[in-house]
């Protein structure tokens, strides 16, 4: 299986990428690592007329310490996030979760920015970044803007990014003392599969993978936890406000059950890490 025909453009700079996007508008798609987009194109579920390859924008691949925040370039590969010493020290949740994405080959190509911009609710890193209260930096021809990640995801594969905008960077606040405990629980049938349900916990923040059309925070569980409930007590509320789908791997009921079990385990593990 092969993608439908398209025109390939390789951007040599962010400005060139933005110019190309402006030129081709809705017909164009950015290609980072390509491990979300190319599989869809091969199955003909996506057929952009123009591909703007960001692969050579090496200046968007970085991890930087900004003091109270960390900045991660959008083209930083999962493999590099996983092995970044800075992230392993400051954001172990993110480094660990990046090592759980796909398989080693996928992690050698896939990027954090691509994963976030693709906005697949079954994907690991969007929920992790949600638990971390990250901010997405988008650059357009008129300059950059910061978008809180809680406002970024609009629906299945939908974000607030404008067609002429490029996700360039993700900024993550360093967890405060007392919120350093973390846990990542990815429940799959096989290791390579997408999460049936996943849970990311940082301090008192709890985010869910594959429990709705977007990654979401388990607000009721967080509130219960803030109110002093123990892990299993808080986790009893984990499925509230979710709208999980039923598919061949799991019914909605089973997903809701898993969300409760995994949140309980995640909160327990996080508490052990503070």
């Amino acid at each position: 299986m092969i993608p439908a025909s398209f025109t390939y453009k390789r951007a040599a700079s962010v400005d060139e990428a933005l110019d190309l996007a402006a030129e081709y508008g809705e017909d164009a798609k950015y290609l980072a690592g390509g491990h979300s987009l190319l599989p869809l194109m091969k199955l003909r579920l996506a057929a952009p007329e123009v591909i703007i390859d960001l692969g050579e924008l090496h200046d968007l691949s970085f991890v930087a310490d900004l003091g109270s925040r960390l900045a991660i370039g959008a083209l930083t590969r999962h493999h590099d996030v996983e092995h970044s010493e800075l992230l392993t020290r400051e954001l172990p949740l993110l480094a660990h979760a990046a090592g759980q994405v796909g398989d080693p080959q996928v992690r050698h190509r896939g990027t954090i920015g691509g994963s976030v911009a693709h906005a697949d609710p079954a994907s690991d890193l969007p929920a992790v970044l949600l638990a971390l209260d990250a901010t997405v930096v988008a650059r357009g021809t008129d300059g950059s803007r910061e978008i809180p990640i809680g406002e970024f995801f609009q629906g299945l594969f939908e974000t607030v990014l404008e067609p002429d905008e490029l996700l360039t960077e993700i900024r993550v606040p360093k967890p405060a003392a007392g919120s350093r405990g973390w846990s990542f629980q990815k429940f799959t049938q096989r290791a390579i599969d997408w999460a049936i349900v996943g849970v990311a916990v940082q301090g008192g923040a709890v985010a869910l993978i594959n429990m709705a059309g977007t990654p979401l925070r388990a607000a009721a569980a967080e509130a219960a936890l803030a109110g002093g409930a123990p892990p299993d007590g808080a986790a009893a509320h984990a499925a509230e406000g979710t709208s999980a789908a039923s598919d061949i791997r799991a019914s909605r009921e089973y997903r809701e059950h898993l969300a409760r079990v995994l949140v309980s385990r995640a909160l327990t593990e996080a508490a052990s890490r503070t």
Binding site: M1, L43, F187, Q189, R190, A191, D193, I196, I248, L258
Partner: protein
């Protein structure tokens, strides 16, 4: 020292590891230089009438050479469809009202059925052109699942007036059950699974000067040639089938199927060299699938553990066309009683069509279904009487002094030591310690519980009895060439056959070339299925070597002017001489050079009178997360006794692969359809093929009980691992949660299914509690 039974690493590997194999799609032979690509237009509907096909748009697309439909098949007679005639007990395929066309005529009966083909110059043009073929379908109600099929409300073949293609009725005499203290009865699902050889189907074909050459990813070049001849109305000697490297078969590549025949026909029709290599998405709907039985079991016995009666009724979902209609459930029927000496055994089956991918052989082909049923039944019986499942097995085995043993279903087991196999497996597993650990965990009440599952099995290999060919030539340079009728696709025939030659003739393995899979070189042969290769094909090589040796002895005696009885071969050096006189030494090259034509030749066929019956026992240890239902395999210990072992490296490899495929059925894999008959598992993202992290390393215990039916003492090992592992693992999963009141969980034991069982058991207990 004989090389037989020693650990010889494969001669095939250096090429595969450094250059890669040459599979059909890798062929760069000049005849295929200008080959066009063939792309199938496949039905998107499970069941529909075809009102019309408009190819005009496709024909005007770039690179399109031709679009062919059934209307272009005016050069073919009415279908004798693919397959051979089978036996009276297992007719296949049925033909008549059930006939399967090549390209669909006016009805499609499964998603993926070939409707038309598009031929394009370029590789990348086919997919788009195929999308432009406009087929006007009128959807019909789809028959999805056996329940819906058995109502006969919608018929796949109206002329047949039923969806039941074949019936072998199960006796319903309950007398033996009436005498039992305990009876357990239930339905068991042996789910539909996909074969998933890593190389899918692939065919290339060239027709020129009245001769057809077909390159095929197949387990049998020679059978394929006769199927091609029948389907295309050509004399077999005008057809050459070449089987290059094959990337796995597992039963689904026996012969040539409908899609391959269409490629060959299209090459003849268009006069163009053609290539077709299916995508995985095609493979998961178009290649035959396996298992797919709904079984009803009834087992009865006494509280002392003695089983007195067993009944198995199988309903075989055969998919849209009854290709192997009778064969698969017949094997299930034949092997129904397994390793047990049960006084009353009743078995029967029905074969039912549904709007799904056709079912055919898949590693084990009817025997895993039999073993799964009886091994589940024995565990259910053991649970009912509260006896250890291993102990129940011990009390019912066919005793070692009963062989050859005639079963109630008509099989004649050749040799077996069933209790010994189980005891070896239990000892290697540390069964008693495992049970103690299980007790500890249960008492502690933790989330993760331990399950221990046991299976004991016997299976049938070379089930056709049957024969196989071998030609052995010793050349005047001292090298040897073997032409084998067997057809390797990973088993290591080249290594094994060279070992046989070295062992018998003393010609070193690296001087032995093994050729296979080309009907011009080897016109008559059967090929590889039913774990038949070593016992038939290997025995044929052995027989050819003995004939060559006799001929050589005759020649050497002539050359040395000695009596034949005084001429000896030193098989450690490959030197002929007069006994005790090293000065008379002759090499194989010298002896071969002396023969007429400058070589020694033996062209033989080996026939084995009856099938052989490998056996063994598996112990599976799993952990079940009782909160999520997730199962983790911790250990898998096996005794797989397939007679004398030629090369442990190869037999262990066969066992490993078999265990993994059996585990896949127990835990992960299942072909799913929605209510309209649309496949839900048509990619490897959706179909949960088992992967490395899902499995532990396996613990293999050696056991060799030779058969007397062939000179090598060998039985087949290709399918044993699969047959033994599935029920052991399924039993282990159920055992892990049996203390919660669970007696059965259908396969695959996915997390959701296990959780549902636990959930239901907890609810049942809660209700019971509240009643009191």
């Amino acid at each position: 020292m004989s090389i037989m039974g020693t650990r010889v690493i494969r001669t095939e590997d250096p090429r595969l590891l450094t250059k890669g194999g040459v599979y059909v799609d890798d062929l760069r032979t000049p005849e295929l230089d200008q080959a066009a690509r063939l792309t199938f237009v496949r039905s998107p509907f499970a069941h529909a009438r075809i009102k019309g096909i408009d190819a005009s748009e496709a024909l005007s697309a770039p690179g399109v050479v031709a679009v062919l439909t059934v209307r272009d098949m005016d050069d073919l007679g009415p279908p004798p469809p693919p397959g051979d005639e089978g036996s009276e007990a297992a007719p296949m395929p049925l033909g008549g009202a059930w006939a399967e066309p090549l390209l669909a005529v006016d009805t499609v009966r499964f998603v993926g059925e070939p409707v038309a083909v598009v031929i394009t110059d370029g590789h990348y043009q086919g997919e788009e052109a195929a999308d432009l073929v406009n087929v006007d379908y009128d959807p019909l109600p789809a028959v999805v699942g056996l329940g819906s099929a058995l109502t006969d409300e919608t018929l796949l073949f109206p002329d047949a007036a039923t969806n039941v293609a074949l019936t072998n009725p199960v006796p319903t005499d309950d007398t033996a059950f009436d005498a039992c203290e305990v009876i357990v009865e239930r339905d068991i699902v042996n789910q539909r699974v996909a074969c998933v050889p890593m190389e899918g189907r692939a065919t290339a074909a060239v027709y020129s000067d009245g001769k057809l050459t077909v390159w095929l990813s197949s387990q049998n070049a020679q059978i394929s040639r006769f199927i091609l001849a029948g389907a295309l109305g050509m004399p077999p000697d005008q057809i050459r089938v070449i089987v290059p490297d094959v990337g796995g078969g597992f039963g689904a590549k026996v012969g040539i199927d409908r899609d391959g025949l269409i490629v060959a026909w299209a090459a003849r029709k268009t006069g163009r060299a053609l290539r077709w290599t299916e995508t995985r998405s095609e493979n998961l709907v178009g290649m035959t699938q396996g298992r797919a039985q709904l079984q009803h079991i009834k087992i009865g016995g006494n509280r002392d553990g003695r089983i007195l009666a067993y009944r198995l009724e199988a309903i075989q979902d055969t998919g849209a066309y009854p290709r192997m209609s009778g064969f698969l459930p017949f094997m299930t029927f034949l092997m129904a009683p397994g390793v047990y000496d049960i006084p009353e055994v009743q078995a029967g089956y029905r074969v039912v069509v549904t709007n799904a991918t056709p079912i055919s052989a898949y590693r084990g082909a009817g025997r895993p279904e039999a073993t799964a049923a009886i091994e589940r039944a024995v565990d259910l019986f053991a649970a009912e009487i509260g006896m250890d499942p291993a102990e129940v097995r011990r009390r019912n085995f066919v005793a070692p002094d009963r062989f050859p043993f005639q079963t109630k279903t008509g099989a004649m087991y050749d040799t077996g030591r069933y209790e010994e196999a189980l005891d070896k497996a239990l000892a290697a597993a540390g069964y008693d310690e495992l049970r103690q650990e299980q007790e500890r965990r249960r008492a502690a009440g933790g989330v993760t519980q331990l399950g221990i599952g046991v299976s004991a099995y016997v299976e049938i290999t070379a089930g056709d009895g049957g024969d196989e060919t071998a030609k052995l030539i010793v050349n005047d340079d001292g090298s040897a060439t073997v032409y084998t009728g067997s057809s390797p696709h990973g088993q290591g025939h080249a290594t094994a056959w060279a070992m046989l030659v070295q062992d018998e003739l003393g010609i070193p393995m690296d001087q032995v070339t093994v050729l296979h899979g080309d009907t011009d070189l080897i016109p008559i042969a059967v090929g590889t299925f039913a774990s038949r290769s070593l016992q038939l094909g290997g025995s044929a090589v052995h027989k050819a070597a003995i004939e060559v040796k006799d001929e050589a002895r005759h020649g050497a005696a002539e050359m040395l002017e000695a009596a034949e009885a005084d001429v000896v071969l030193d098989t450690s050096t490959g030197v002929w001489q007069v006994r005790g006189d090293p000065d008379t030494a002759l090499s194989w090259g010298q002896v071969a050079g002396h023969a007429s034509g400058g070589s020694l030749v033996a062209d033989v066929s080996f026939r084995q009178d009856r099938p052989t019956f490998p056996f063994g026992a598996h112990v599976s240890v799993v952990e079940v997360d009782t909160e999520t239902g997730q199962v983790r395999m911790l250990r898998h210990v096996t005794v797989d006794d397939a007679g004398r072992v030629l090369n442990p490296v190869l037999t262990e490899g066969q066992r490993h692969g078999g265990i993994a495929q059996g585990a896949a059925q127990a835990l992960l894999e299942e072909v799913l359809y929605d209510v309209d008959g649309n496949p839900q598992t048509s990619t490897l993202a959706d179909y949960a093929a088992i992967s490395a992290p899902d499995l532990p390393s396996f613990e293999l215990v050696d056991s060799q009980t030779p058969t007397t039916l062939n000179p090598l003492g060998a039985k087949g090992i290709g399918e044993a691992g699969t047959i033994g592992s599935t029920p052991a693992i399924q039993n282990a999963v159920i055992d892990a949660v049996s203390h919660l009141g669970i007696r059965h969980i259908d396969m695959p034991a996915t997390p959701q299914r296990v959780w549902m069982a636990i959930n239901a058991a907890q609810k049942a207990r809660a209700e019971k509690g509240s009643d009191q």
